[in-house]
C-alpha cells in the first residue's frame, strides 16, 4: 500500500494538457451509432413486439431501449465530467463489489433464456457481468500504472494481471458464463499487451485459453451442441442448427441492397433473438451488403477514434483505461458479427448500441462517457509527435 500511495503522487494524475471539450468526433460517432442502433432495433423488434402484445404495439422493445438510452446518455454526460482519478480510487472497491455481485448471482440469480445470470437490485434487473467488465478494465488500468515498467516482467505483467483477472473469471466460470469469460479474457489479453506484458507469455496464455475452452466444452458438455451446429447447421435445421440457419437466410437474402428498411421477413419470428444477439442479421436483410458494411465502417471509425483518444491521453493510466474501454467495444462487435455470420460458434455476445438490452446499453454509454472524459485532456506534445 505504501508503494501504491507513492505511485499515485499528485503530479501524476494532475491535469497536464489543457482541459478542453470532449472529442467531438468520437461523440458524434457514438451518437450516430446509438441513433442508427435505435432505429434498427425498432425495425428488428417490431414484429416480436406486435406478437407479444397481441398485435397491438410495435414499439414495446423500442420504448424500453429508448428509456435506457436516455439513462445511458445521462450517465455518459455525467461520467464525461468525472475525473479519471475518481475511477482510479474506485477501482478496487468496485472490483470487490463486482465479485460479490457475481457470486450473489449463484445464490439469488434469476434465470433468463435458460441461463442464470441476472439479479434484481432496487427493481432493476441486470447482469453483474456487465459491471464486472467495466471494473476489470478499471483495475487493469490501475495495475498498469502501479506496475509501471515492471509490467514487462512475468511476475507483474503476467501473474499480477492474471490474478486480478481470475478474481472475475472464477465466479463467471461458476456461472458457466462462457461468453463473458471469452470476452473478458480477450480484453484482458489486449490490455496486458498494451501494458507491456511479455508477448511470449501472452501468446502462451492465449494458447492455454484455447486449450482451456476446448477442455471446458468437452467436460461440461454444455456448449458441445453449439460447436456441431456451427460446423454443420444444415444437419439439424429444426433444432440445434435452426438459429444459425435462420440467421444465414436473413443475411444471404439481403443481397447487395437489401429488402429495404422495415421489410425483413425473417424477423417475423423465424429468426430467434432477432432484436438482440442477432439484430445484425436483420440489418443485413433489410439494408443489404452496402448498409451492413456502412455500419461496420461506422464501428471501425468509432474504434479507431477510441484508440486515437487512448494514444493522446495525457497519462499512462488514462491511455490504458481508454484502450481497455474501446477494446471492449471492438471485441464485442467483432465477436457478434462473427457469430451472426457463422464464422464462430454461437455465444451470447450482443452488438454494442444495437442489441436490445437496457443495462448493456446504459453501461456502454457510461463507458463512452469515461472515454470522452479522457479525451478532454490531450497530450499536445504527443499529438504533435504522433501526427506530424
Amino acid at each position: 500500500m505504501a508503494l501504491e500511495r507513492k505511485l499515485h503522487a499528485k503530479e501524476d494524475l494532475a491535469p497536464t494538457g489543457a482541459s478542453t471539450e470532449v472529442d467531438p468526433v468520437f461523440l458524434f460517432l457514438v451518437l450516430l451509432l446509438l441513433a442508427v442502433g435505435l432505429i434498427m432495433l425498432y425495425s428488428a423488434s417490431s414484429a416480436q413486439s406486435r406478437y407479444d402484445t397481441g398485435y397491438q404495439i410495435s414499439t414495446k422493445y423500442l420504448q424500453k431501449q429508448g428509456i435506457c438510452a436516455l439513462i445511458g446518455l445521462a450517465a455518459m454526460a455525467f461520467f464525461s465530467r468525472i475525473p479519471a482519478q475518481v475511477w482510479y480510487r474506485l477501482a478496487w472497491p468496485l472490483y470487490a463489489v463486482s465479485i460479490v455481485l457475481l457470486l450473489s448471482v449463484l445464490v439469488i440469480g434469476q434465470q433468463v433464456n435458460g441461463a442464470r445470470r441476472w439479479i434484481t437490485i432496487a427493481g432493476i434487473q441486470f447482469q453483474p457481468s456487465e459491471i464486472a467488465k467495466f471494473t476489470m478494465i478499471l483495475v487493469f488500468a490501475r495495475l498498469t500504472r502501479i506496475f509501471g515498467s515492471r509490467a514487462k516482467t512475468f511476475r507483474f505483467g503476467v501473474l499480477g494481471f492474471g490474478m486480478a483477472l481470475m478474481g472475475i473469471l472464477v465466479p463467471l466460470a461458476l456461472e458457466k458464463h462462457l461468453s463473458a469469460i471469452l470476452l473478458m479474457g480477450m480484453v484482458a489479453v489486449v490490455m496486458m499487451f498494451v501494458a507491456g506484458s511479455p508477448i511470449q507469455w501472452l501468446l502462451a496464455g492465449a494458447g492455454g485459453a484455447v486449450v482451456f475452452v476446448i477442455i471446458y466444452i468437452s467436460l461440461m458438455g454444455y456448449a458441445g451442441d453449439r460447436v456441431s451446429a456451427w460446423l454443420h447447421p444444415e444437419l439439424d435445421p429444426g433444432d440445434t442448427g435452426y438459429q444459425i440457419l435462420q440467421s444465414l437466410y436473413a443475411i444471404g437474402s439481403g443481397g447487395l441492397l437489401g429488402l429495404g428498411f422495415g421489410k425483413s421477413r425473417q424477423k417475423y419470428l423465424y429468426l430467434p433473438f432477432q432484436y438482440n444477439d442477432y439484430i445484425f442479421a436483420v440489418i443485413c436483410e433489410e439494408l443489404g451488403l452496402v448498409g451492413a458494411v456502412l455500419i461496420l465502417v461506422l464501428f471501425s471509425l468509432t474504434i479507431l477514434r477510441g484508440y486515437w483518444i487512448a494514444l493522446h491521453a495525457r497519462d499512462r493510466y488514462s491511455t490504458v483505461l481508454a484502450a481497455g474501454l474501446i477494446t471492449l467495444i471492438a471485441i464485442q462487435t467483432i465477436l457478434n458479427v462473427s457469430v451472426v455470420t457463422n464464422l464462430l460458434p454461437s455465444t451470447g455476445i450482443a452488438l454494442p448500441f444495437f442489441s436490445y438490452g437496457g443495462t448493456a446499453l446504459a453501461v456502454n454509454l457510461g463507458q463512452m462517457g469515461v472515454l470522452l472524459q479522457i479525451s478532454r485532456y490531450r497530450n499536445h506534445r504527443k499529438i504533435q509527435e504522433a501526427t506530424p
Binding site: 406478437y51 498494451v194 444471404g252 417475423y268 451488403l289 464501428f299 494514444l311 504527443k382
Partner: protein, 773 residues
C-alpha cells in the same frame, strides 16, 4: 506504425513510452481495421456470392404452399344425365402450434370436438398435443350442419387453432345404377373400378396452389408476396350408357332374380350391334358407390354380422378372437371385391347354347354346311373320337332336322356333327376371328379374356379325340366373358364386323370441347354379309319357331338364342359337381336390321320355385321384357298390325250394334255388366286404337275411380283376358305369343292387389314353362 524505429521520446512530463504507443497502434490496426476485413469478406460471400442460394432458402423458409383441391370431372350418361358429380363438404383440422400459442385448453377443446364430431376425444387430444405440426386433420367431409355448429362454437369461444377447409365429396345421384361401370373414388379421391379408374387421368383435375409468405406462427407480414395457381377442374366423361336403358335392364334383371329366386346374382348388357357402344351393363347384386364399403346384399351382410358377433363374443386375447377377426376381415374384403366386380367383362362363364350361333355362322360361312344339310337326332349318340356318349337335352331326340331346326331346337347332336364337318382347324380359326381368344379392348379396367382350349385340343383330334371340338361347338367346357360373346354374336348379325366395345363416347374439357372422342372401331371381319343375312333369319326363327318363343315382343321382330349351362368347375363340400346352372339369353332386335343386342344371364336359379330351370323359361322372357321396355324408348319402329282407327262412341248402343261397328277393324271387345245398353267404355271415344287391341264395354257397370289389379300368375291367355276385362284393365301381351293352354302368365308389371285407374294397360309376360334350353 509510425512510432516504429523512432527513439523513445525523452521522458520528463511524457510518461508514455513509445513501446506502449506502438502496442496500441498494433492493437488499433488489428481490432479497428484488420478484424473487420474477414467480416466484410464473409458478408460479401453470403450476400452477393451466395445470394441466390440463400434467397431461395429464405423464400422456401417463409412461404406456405396450400394445395387448392380441384374438382373431379363429372360422369354423364349419353343424354347428359349426371351419374357422378361432387358435393362441397368441409374437413376439420387443428393447428397445434396455434392452439398452444393462443393458450387454449387443449383438453376441453378436444372433449368438445369429440362430442361434436362424434370422434374419440383422446385421439383428438393426442393430435392437438403434437406441437411440431401445423396441420392435423381430425375429421373429413363433415355434414353442413355439423360444420355450422362447429363454426358457432369456434366463434362463441373465440378459439384459435381450429380450422375448416373446403373439400369435395364424390356423389353418385343414381346410387347403385350401373355401379360397376361407373366405379367409385376412394377416400383419397383416386378413381377405383370402372370408368372412375379407367378414365382417372381425365377425370382428375389439376390441383391449384397458393404460395404465400407468412411469418412464423402464421403471422401476416406487411411485405409479403402471394402467388396463386388456379386449380383446373377435371374433364367431363360422357358415357355411351343410357340411364333409362340401364334402369330397364336392371329392373328386369332384379325382377327375374326375385321371380326365379336366383342365388348368385345376374349380369347383363345392352350393346349397339352396329357401333359397339354399351348402352347398359349391369351386375347384380350391386353396391352403392356413395357407400362402396358397405355390403349391399342383405344375406351377405347378415353372414358378415354373424361372423363379427362370433369373434366379438370371445375374450379379446384368445386365439379364437384373432382367428375369428381375421376370418371376418377376409370375408368382408371378399364380399366387397365381389360386389365391385363387373362380371360382364371380368369373369368368364360357360356360354352354353348361346354359343351355337357362332358355330353355325362359322360352318355356314366356310361352306361346311348349307341350310339344307340334314341331321338326325335320336336323343343320344356315340360320336367318333368321343369317349362319352353324347346326349341331347331332349332325351327322346329331335328326329330328322335340317340346319334351321338344329338351331331352333338347340340340338346338341346336330351341332356335334356340324363341328365335325367344320373340323378343328376351321373351328379354331373362326373362334380366333370372333375374338374369343383376346380381350375385347373395352375402355374399362379389369377385363379378362376367359379360358379357351389350346389349339391342339380342338385341331389335333387324332391325339385328343373330338370331345373338346364337339363340346366346344355347343358352348361347353370352356369359359369366355359375357362381353366377348355379345360382341361375337353382334358380328354375326351386323354383316360380319367384329367391333371394339366402348362405354365412353367422349371426354369434354371444362369449356365443353372434346378432348377425346371414341368412334366405332372395327377390329376385323368375321363372316360374310351373306352368311350374316342367313344367320339373321335363323336367329329370328329361334324366337318364332324354336326354344325362345318366350322372348317375343309384340310389334317387334326379336331374334335370339337361349343358353343353359351347368357350372362344371363348381364343387360342393363333398367334391361332387354341383348342379348349379347359369341360364342366359342373347336377344337381338329388330332382326331385319339389327340395332341392339341384349344379354341377360341368371346365375343359379333356385330349384325351390318349381319353375323349370332353363334359358328359355327364365332368361328369354326377361330379355323380352327388357326389349319391350327399351325398343319404344329407343324409337325403334314398331311393326303395326294396321292403321289405327279412332274409336267411336259406343254409349247408348247395344252390344250387337257395337259388334257391328267393330266389324272388320280387328278390334275385339269384352263386356261387363247386365244392362242392355252400353253405359261407358274404355278406352274412351276418339282415342286411337290399333287392330288387335281390345275395348271394354260397360253395360251398367261403373268403371269406378280405381280398380284392384288381380293376380294373373298361371292364367292362360283366355283366362287372363277375362280377368282383365272384369277388373277393367287393358292387356299388353309380352312373351310367348302362342294361344295354346300350356302358355301361361309368368309375370305382370303391376303387383297383384295394387290400385290403378280403370283402363290402365297391364303388361303380362306369357311363357311356356316347359321350354327347354
Amino acid at each position: 506504425m509510425k512510432g516504429k524505429g523512432k527513439p523513445a521520446a525523452p521522458s520528463g512530463r511524457l510518461r508514455l513510452d513509445s513501446g506502449q504507443h506502438r502496442r496500441i497502434r498494433i492493437t488499433m490496426a488489428v481490432l479497428a481495421l484488420a478484424a473487420f476485413l474477414p467480416l466484410a469478406a464473409r458478408l460479401w460471400y453470403l450476400m452477393v456470392a451466395q445470394y441466390d442460394y440463400y434467397a431461395a432458402l429464405a423464400r422456401r423458409n417463409q412461404s406456405r404452399t396450400t394445395a387448392v383441391a380441384s374438382d373431379r370431372g363429372e360422369i354423364l350418361d349419353r343424354n347428359m344425365n349426371v351419374l357422378a358429380t361432387n358435393r362441397g363438404v368441409e374437413n376439420v383440422y387443428l393447428n397445434p402450434r396455434e392452439l398452444q400459442q393462443a393458450g387454449e385448453d387443449i383438453h376441453a377443446v378436444s372433449q368438445m370436438l369429440g362430442q361434436l364430431l362424434e370422434k374419440d376425444p383422446d385421439a383428438i387430444e393426442k393430435k392437438a398435443g403434437d406441437r411440431t405440426r401445423r396441420y392435423q386433420q381430425i375429421a373429413a367431409r363433415i355434414p353442413a350442419e355439423t360444420a355450422a355448429k362447429l363454426r358457432d362454437y369456434i366463434n362463441d369461444q373465440d378459439i384459435q387453432g381450429i380450422h375448416l377447409e373446403p373439400a369435395a365429396e364424390r356423389v353418385y345421384p343414381y346410387g347403385t345404377l350401373a355401379a360397376q361401370v361407373v366405379g367409385f373414388t376412394n377416400a383419397g379421391g383416386d378413381g377405383c373400378e370402372g370408368v372412375e379408374a379407367a378414365y382417372d387421368s381425365y377425370l382428375r383435375g389439376l390441383p391449384g396452389k397458393v404460395i404465400t409468405t407468412k411469418g412464423n406462427n402464421e403471422m401476416d407480414m406487411p411485405y409479403s408476396y402471394e402467388q396463386y395457381l388456379a386449380s383446373q377442374k377435371g374433364n367431363t366423361v360422357v358415357l355411351t350408357l343410357d340411364a333409362t336403358v340401364q334402369a330397364c335392364l336392371e329392373k328386369q334383371m332384379a325382377a327375374a332374380i326375385d321371380r326365379y329366386d336366383v342365388q348368385n346374382g345376374a349380369f347383363g348388357m345392352v350393346m349397339n350391334c352396329k357401333t359397339g357402344e354399351i348402352l347398359a351393363m349391369a351386375t347384380l347384386g350391386s353396391y352403392d358407390p356413395n357407400a362402396y364399403q358397405e355390403i349391399q346384399d342383405e344375406k351377405t351382410r347378415q353372414e358378415l354380422e354373424n361372423l363379427q358377433l362370433a369373434y366379438l363374443s370371445l375374450p379379446e386375447e384368445s386365439e379364437g378372437y384373432a382367428a375369428g377377426k381375421k376370418a371376418y376381415q377376409e370375408a368382408l374384403q371378399a364380399a366387397r371385391l365381389k360386389q365391385w366386380r363387373n362380371r360382364c367383362l371380368s369373369d368368364g362363364y360357360e356360354p352354353g347354347s348361346t354359343f351355337k350361333v357362332l358355330t353355325m355362322a362359322a360352318a355356314l360361312d366356310c361352306g361346311a354346311i348349307t341350310l339344307d344339310t340334314s341331321f338326325h337326332c335320336s336323343g343320344a349318340e356315340q360320336i367318333p373320337g368321343r369317349a362319352q356318349r353324347l346326349h341331347c337335352w331332349r332325351s327322346t331326340g329331335h328326329g330328322a332336322e335340317k340346319t334351321p331346326q338344329a338351331l331352333q331346337n338347340s340340338c346338341n347332336i346336330a351341332f356335334a356333327h356340324i363341328a365335325l364337318k367344320l373340323g378343328g382347324e376351321r373351328f379354331y380359326d373362326y373362334i380366333q376371328k370372333f375374338g374369343i381368344l383376346e380381350k375385347t379392348g373395352i375402355d374399362l379396367a379389369g377385363e379378362s379374356k376367359g379360358v379357351f382350349f389350346d389349339k391342339a385340343l380342338v385341331t389335333n383330334t387324332d391325339k385328343w379325340g373330338t370331345a373338346s371340338l364337339t363340346s366346344g361347338s355347343f358352348g361347353q367346357t370352356f369359359k369366355i366373358t359375357p362381353l366377348q360373346l355379345v360382341r361375337a354374336i353382334a358380328s354375326v348379325v351386323n354383316g360380319g364386323y367384329l367391333l371394339e366395345p366402348y362405354v365412353v363416347c367422349e371426354v369434354l374439357n371444362a369449356q365443353g370441347n372434346p378432348v377425346l372422342r371414341q368412334e366405332p372401331t372395327v377390329v376385323r371381319r368375321t363372316i360374310s354379309e351373306e352368311t350374316s343375312q342367313t344367320m339373321r333369319q335363323l336367329i329370328r326363327s329361334v324366337v318364332t319357331e324354336g326354344t325362345a318363343k318366350n322372348a317375343a315382343v309384340a310389334g317387334y321382330s326379336i331374334g335370339g338364342k337361349t343358353g343353359t349351362s351347368e357350372k362344371i368347375d363348381v364343387f360342393d363340400e363333398n367334391g361332387q359337381r354341383v348342379q348349379d346352372k347359369i341360364v342366359s339369353f342373347v336377344g337381338i332386335a329388330p332382326m331385319e336390321d339389327p340395332q341392339y343386342i341384349v344379354l341377360v344371364a341368371l346365375d343359379t336359379p333356385s330349384r325351390s320355385t318349381g319353375i323349370y330351370i332353363s334359358g328359355g323359361v327364365m332368361a328369354a322372357p326377361t330379355v323380352g321384357a327388357v326389349l319391350g321396355d327399351i325398343l319404344p324408348y329407343l324409337e325403334v319402329e314398331k311393326e303395326t298390325p294396321g292403321e289405327p282407327i279412332s274409336l267411336p262412341d259406343f254409349t247408348g248402343m247395344t252390344v250387337k250394334e257395337a259388334e257391328k261397328a267393330l266389324k272388320d277393324t280387328g278390334i275385339t271387345k269384352r263386356c261387363s255388366g247386365t244392362e242392355e245398353k252400353i253405359t261407358s267404355q274404355l278406352p274412351r271415344a276418339g282415342e286411337l286404337v290399333y287392330p288387335g287391341s281390345q275395348v271394354l264395354l260397360y253395360l251398367g257397370d261403373d268403371p269406378g275411380q280405381s280398380v284392384e289389379v288381380p293376380d294373373f300368375t298361371g292364367m292362360t291367355r283366355r283366362q287372363a283376358g277375362d280377368a282383365a276385362a272384369k277388373a277393367g284393365l287393358l292387356l299388353q301381351i309380352l312373351g310367348n305369343p302362342d294361344l295354346s293352354p300350356q302358355i301361361v302368365v309368368s309375370g305382370q308389371d303391376l303387383p297383384p292387389g295394387s290400385k290403378t285407374p280403370p283402363g290402365t294397360a297391364i303388361t303380362l309376360y306369357f311363357t311356356d314353362p316347359t321350354a327347354k334350353d
